[in-house]
C-alpha cells in the first residue's frame, strides 16, 4: 500500500489529528498511534509525523512485525518457562498464557506492538465511518490456512458469530466493539441481523449500534484469535491456523511444543508474514514462582514473567532483564455502601493519610508509575495528569473525628495476592502510613482463589486489574453505575455522563480533558487507594535476540532469533 493511496481513503479524523499535531497539541508519537488506529499504515503515519520510521514499520509489505535483523540466524529452539494451560477453545480463553501457546498458530486481525501502537495483522487495513459506527476491514490476501484453504471474510464472520453466541460463553461479547453488535431478546443476547456484512472475499463490514473507538485494539484481545471457519472445539482435534508455527504437542501442566509449518494441504507453505527464524518454540510448565529458578538452572532460554521480589535474583543471573511499563495495577477499593466506608469522610481520611509516592519505591524500586487514586495510567494515550495528591495526616484525623471516630478507627483489608506477594507489601506500607492518622489497618491475607470469590463484595479489598490499551476502557468496565465489575459500588450520574462524552470523542485534546473530568470525580469520591502502576519484568538469555517486552505479556516471536 503506497502512502498516496492511504491518504486518499484516509479517515477525516486523521487530517484533524494531523492539524492538531502540527499545531503542537498532539505529540508526534500520539499522532502515529491515532493514525494507525484509524487505518493509516503505521509506516505512512510515521512519515506524516515526520518521525524516522522505527524498525517495526516495514511499510512495503505493511507487516506488523519488527524488521528482520540483518545478523539474524535461522534455526534453533526457543525454550520458554510459562504455565502450560488448556487450549480447547480460543474464544473462551481465560488467561494470557493459553493465548501465548496458540499465538504463533492462530493469529489476530490486528496486533498491538510493544510500543502500544495497533497495526493491521490478518487485516490489511481498516476504515471507520465518521461517526465511528461503521468499520470496514480489508483482509490480507494470500494468507493460507495450514490445511491449504484460503483465509477469507467467511472465516472472520464465522468467528464473530461464535463470539456472540451466548451459549459459547466467550468473554469477547463484553468487548465494546462486539457488544455493539448484539441485542438482548428475552434476556438472551444475540447477534443483530445485518451487523456483519461480507462485502467480498476479502472485505467485511461491521455495523455497530454505538460509536466504538477501540475496535482495532479489541481485535488483539487475547481471546479474539481467528480460527478456521470449520472449527469445532477442542482445538487439539482440529490443529489449523494461519501462523508460521503449528502446535505439535500440548500437554497441560507439562509442555507445549510448536514447530515451523513447512507445508499446507500438500503444497509448500509460505507464511504471509515473511521470514521467521526459530525452528521450534517450546513452552515448559513452571508456575510463576519457579520460572526464574528454572531460568537460573539454564533449563530454559526465556520466561513468561517474574515478580519484583525476585529482582535481586534476576540481576545476579546471566541474562537480560526486560521491563515493560503497563497499566496493570492494584486497586485497593472501598465499597461505598459498606460501613464504615459508606461515610465519604472515612474514605477521604484513608486516602489523605496515604502517600502513594512513598509506597511505589518500596514496592517497585525500578520502573512503574505512581498511581493517583483513579483508574487511568500515564501509559494510556488519553491520560492527563490531575493536580498532584498531597498527604495530609492532620486533615485525615480531623475528618475522622468529624465522622465520629475521634480516637481513630480500625479497618481490615482483604489481600489475595492474586498478582503476587507485592500486594501485601503495598498493604503493609499503607498500614505503616495509616498508623500516623490513628487508623489501624489489619491485613487479612487469604488465598488467591478465595479472594476471587469475594472481590466484588468485601468492604475493603485489593484487586489486581490488568492492562487495557485505552484509559476509557477500565473506567467504563469498573466504575459505571451498576456494571458487573463495579467492585466499589460507586454510582455517580455525573461520572457516567462525563465518561460517555469521553468515549464518543476522538479528538485527543478534548478527550483527555473529558476523561480528566471523569477522573477527577472518581478521585474526589475517594473510592480507592491506587498506589502503583506496576511494570512487568521478564528475562531472556543473552543468546535470545529480539525478545519483546509487551505490556500484556503477549508473546510474538516471529522475528526472534537465537545465536
Amino acid at each position: 500500500m503506497s502512502t498516496n493511496k492511504t491518504t486518499n481513503t484516509m479517515h477525516p479524523k486523521v487530517r484533524e489529528a494531523q492539524e492538531q499535531m502540527d499545531s503542537g497539541r498532539l505529540s508526534r508519537r500520539e499522532f502515529v498511534r491515532y493514525a494507525a488506529l484509524l487505518g493509516v499504515g503505521a509506516g505512512a503515519a510515521y512519515a506524516m509525523a515526520g518521525l524516522p520510521s522505527p524498525a517495526i514499520a516495514q511499510d512495503a509489505a505493511n507487516l506488523p512485525f519488527p524488521a528482520d535483523d540483518p545478523n539474524a540466524k535461522a534455526g534453533g529452539i526457543l525454550k520458554v518457562a510459562m504455565q502450560v494451560q488448556k487450549i480447547d477453545d480460543p474464544a473462551t480463553f481465560s488467561w494470557t498464557q493459553a493465548s501465548n501457546q496458540t499465538r504463533h498458530m492462530l493469529e489476530y486481525l490486528a496486533m498491538t506492538g510493544p510500543d502500544n501502537v495497533t497495526r493491521p495483522m490478518l487485516a490489511e487495513r481498516w476504515e471507520a465511518s465518521e461517526d465511528l459506527k461503521t468499520w470496514t476491514f480489508h483482509l490480507r490476501k494470500g494468507v493460507k490456512w495450514h490445511n491449504g484453504d484460503d483465509f477469507t471474510a467467511e472465516d472472520v464472520k464465522f468467528n464473530f458469530e461464535r463470539w456472540t453466541d451466548p451459549d459459547l460463553g466467550s468473554s469477547n461479547i463484553g468487548l465494546s466493539s462486539v457488544s455493539a453488535m448484539v441485542e438482548e431478546v428475552d434476556g438472551k443476547k444475540r447477534l443483530i441481523d445485518g451487523a456483519i456484512e461480507v462485502i467480498d472475499e476479502h472485505t467485511i463490514r461491521f455495523n455497530l449500534t454505538k460509536p466504538v473507538l477501540s475496535f482495532p485494539e479489541d481485535m488483539y484481545n487475547y481471546p479474539t484469535a481467528i480460527v478456521h471457519r470449520g472449527f469445532k472445539p477442542p482445538l487439539d482435534n482440529v490443529i489449523n491456523g494461519t501462523g508460521a508455527y503449528t502446535i505439535a504437542e500440548n500437554v497441560v501442566g507439562d509442555r507445549c511444543i510448536l514447530k515451523k509449518v513447512t507445508e499446507a494441504g500438500g503444497q509448500p507453505f509460505e507464511y504471509w508474514g515473511g521470514t521467521v527464524f526459530l525452528d521450534e518454540i517450546h513452552y515448559y510448565n513452571f508456575d510463576a514462582d519457579n520460572q526464574l529458578t528454572a531460568f537460573a538452572g539454564e533449563s530454559v532460554d526465556a520466561i513468561y514473567d517474574f515478580g519484583v521480589e525476585q529482582m535481586e535474583l534476576a540481576k545476579a543471573l546471566d541474562g537480560e532483564i526486560i521491563a515493560a511499563r503497563t497499566a496493570q495495577t492494584l486497586c485497593c477499593r472501598m465499597r461505598v455502601d459498606a460501613a464504615p466506608f459508606n461515610d465519604e469522610r472515612v474514605r477521604k481520611a484513608v486516602t489523605m493519610a496515604i502517600d502513594n509516592a512513598a509506597i511505589k519505591p518500596l514496592v517497585y524500586p525500578e520502573g512503574g508509575d505512581v498511581g493517583e487514586n483513579y483508574h487511568v495510567a500515564p501509559v494510556h494515550p488519553d491520560y492527563e495528569a490531575l493536580p498532584p495528591l498531597t498527604r495530609d495526616v492532620e486533615g485525615a484525623k480531623a475528618l475522622l473525628a468529624e465522622a465520629g471516630h475521634p480516637n481513630g478507627i480500625t479497618i481490615t483489608i482483604d489481600i489475595g495476592n492474586t498478582d503476587g506477594p507485592w500486594h501485601q507489601t503495598a498493604a503493609e506500607a499503607m498500614r505503616d502510613q495509616l498508623k500516623d492518622a490513628g487508623i489501624t489497618l489489619n491485613i487479612n491475607v487469604i488465598p488467591a482463589s478465595k479472594y476471587w470469590e469475594i472481590w466484588t463484595k468485601t468492604p475493603f479489598g485489593a484487586t489486581a486489574w490488568t492492562h487495557r490499551p485505552l484509559g476509557t476502557m477500565v473506567m467504563s468496565l469498573g466504575y459505571r453505575t451498576g456494571v458487573p465489575w463495579n467492585e466499589s459500588g460507586f454510582a455517580s450520574a455525573e461520572f457516567d455522563a462525563a465518561l460517555d462524552e469521553a468515549e464518543a470523542t476522538l479528538d485527543v485534546e478534548t478527550r483527555k480533558g473529558l476523561l480528566a473530568k471523569a477522573s477527577k470525580i472518581l478521585q474526589d469520591a475517594s473510592v480507592m487507594v491506587l498506589p502503583i502502576w506496576r511494570p512487568v519484568y521478564t528475562m531472556a538469555s543473552k543468546s535470545v535476540h529480539g525478545y519483546p517486552a509487551h505490556p500484556t505479556q503477549y508473546h510474538q516471536f516471529n522475528k526472534v532469533w537465537m545465536s
Binding site: 525454550k79 488448556k86 480447547d88 473462551t92 481465560s94 488467561w95 451466548p166 451459549d167 460463553g169 468473554s171 463484553g174 500437554v251 497441560v252 501442566g253 507439562d254 509442555r255 515448559y284 513452571f286 519457579n290 529458578t293 528454572a294 537460573a296 538452572g297 533449563s299 530454559v300 492474586t418 488467591a448 482463589s449 478465595k450 479472594y451 476471587w452 470469590e453 472481590w455 466484588t456 458487573p484 465489575w485
Partner: protein, 316 residues
C-alpha cells in the same frame, strides 16, 4: 494366613469406599465449585457470570447433580477401569496418574536401593556392640539426620551441591527427558531423612538378638564371633527391619510431596498437591485410592514377610 489377607483386602475396599465418598462430599461444597470455576474461567469472568450461565457451566462440567449420584457414576467408571478426567490437566486421570506414579516409582527405587543397604549395615554395626563408641556415634548420626526435616535437608543439599559447588542442577523438572543428575538431590534428601529411622530399628533388633540366650551360648561354645553374627544373629535381627522397610513405602508417598514440590519433580506427590489446590476432584480421588492401596498392600506384605521370616509366629 489367607484369611487374614482376605480380611485386610476387604477392609481396604471398605476404607476406599468410605474415604472416596467422604472426598466427594467434601469437594461438593459450593466454595470448591466456585474455586474450580475461577480456575477455569478466571476470577473476573466468574463474578461477571449470571446465575444462569454459572448453572449451565456447572451442568457442562457435570457438577449440577447431587454428589452421591456422581459418586455412584464414578464408582461404576472405576470398576470399568475409567479413573475419570482431570479438569486441570485436561486429560484422562488413568494415564496421567500412571505417568506420575512411574516417576515417583523411579525416585522410590533409587531411594530404597540406597537406603536399605546403608541403614542395615549401620544398624548392624551399631547393634553388634551395644554401648560402644561405634554404637553411640552411629546412633547419634541417625538421630541427627532424622531430625533434619526433608525441607531443610533439601535446602542444605541444594545450597551445597547446586548453588555452591555447581555440580548438580537446582531443579529436577527433567524437561529435557530423564536425567540422572537431576535425580540425585531428591533421592539424597529422602535417604537422609529416612535411613536413620530404619538404622535405629535395626540396631535395636540386633542388640536384642545379641543379648539373647542362644547367641550367648553360641559365643560361649567358642564359635567364631563373625560366624555367630553372620549365621545366627543376622537372620533373626533382620525380621523387624524387613517389616519396617516395607512400611516405609507408605511413608514415602507422604514424604515425596515436599521433595517433589521443592525440586519441581513431576511425580505423584506434586500431582496430589496441585490437584487438591486446584481442586481437581477426580485426580485427588485417584491419588487417594492409590495411597490407600499402597498403605494396605504394604501392610499385608510386611505381615506375610514377618510370618515367613519368623518361625515362632504362625497365624491361625
Amino acid at each position: 494366613m489367607l484369611k487374614l489377607i482376605l480380611r485386610r483386602l476387604v477392609q481396604m475396599v471398605l476404607i476406599m469406599a468410605v474415604s472416596s465418598l467422604l472426598l466427594f462430599a467434601i469437594f461438593d461444597t459450593p466454595e470448591f465449585k466456585k474455586r474450580l470455576a475461577v480456575q477455569e474461567l478466571g476470577g473476573f469472568a466468574v463474578s461477571a457470570l449470571t446465575e444462569e450461565s454459572y448453572k449451565s457451566w456447572l451442568a457442562g462440567r457435570g457438577l449440577d447433580v447431587p454428589f452421591h449420584q456422581r459418586y455412584l457414576n464414578w464408582v461404576g467408571n472405576i470398576l470399568s477401569g475409567d479413573f475419570g478426567f482431570s479438569y486441570e490437566k485436561n486429560r484422562p486421570v488413568g494415564p496421567l496418574l500412571a505417568d506420575r506414579l512411574a516417576n515417583t516409582g523411579i525416585l522410590a527405587f533409587f531411594v530404597f536401593a540406597l537406603m536399605i543397604p546403608l541403614s542395615l549395615i549401620l544398624g548392624i554395626l551399631a547393634g553388634m556392640k551395644e554401648g560402644s563408641l561405634q554404637d553411640r556415634s552411629i546412633s547419634f548420626i541417625s538421630v541427627f539426620t532424622t531430625s533434619i526435616p526433608e525441607i531443610a535437608s533439601a535446602i542444605l543439599l541444594t545450597v551445597i551441591f547446586a548453588l555452591g559447588l555447581g555440580w548438580l542442577p537446582v531443579k529436577s523438572a527433567m524437561i529435557g527427558g530423564f536425567s540422572f543428575r537431576e535425580l540425585v538431590l531428591p533421592v539424597l534428601t529422602l535417604v537422609i531423612y529416612d535411613f536413620g529411622y530404619v538404622a535405629r530399628m535395626t540396631r535395636a533388633s540386633m542388640a536384642e538378638v545379641m543379648t539373647s540366650q542362644y547367641i550367648r551360648t553360641a559365643i560361649l561354645k567358642g564359635l567364631p564371633y563373625r560366624r555367630v553374627v553372620m549365621r545366627h544373629a543376622l537372620r533373626n535381627a533382620l525380621i523387624a527391619p524387613f517389616t519396617l522397610i516395607v512400611l516405609q513405602l507408605n511413608w514415602l508417598l507422604s514424604g515425596v510431596v515436599v521433595v517433589e514440590v521443592f525440586f519441581e519433580y513431576n511425580g505423584f506427590g506434586k500431582l496430589l498437591l496441585e490437584a487438591a489446590l486446584f481442586p481437581d476432584v477426580e485426580v485427588v480421588q485417584a491419588c487417594t485410592l492409590v495411597a490407600v492401596a499402597v498403605a494396605v498392600l504394604s501392610q499385608i506384605i510386611s505381615d506375610i514377610g514377618y510370618t515367613f521370616l519368623n518361625p515362632r509366629i504362625r497365624f491361625a
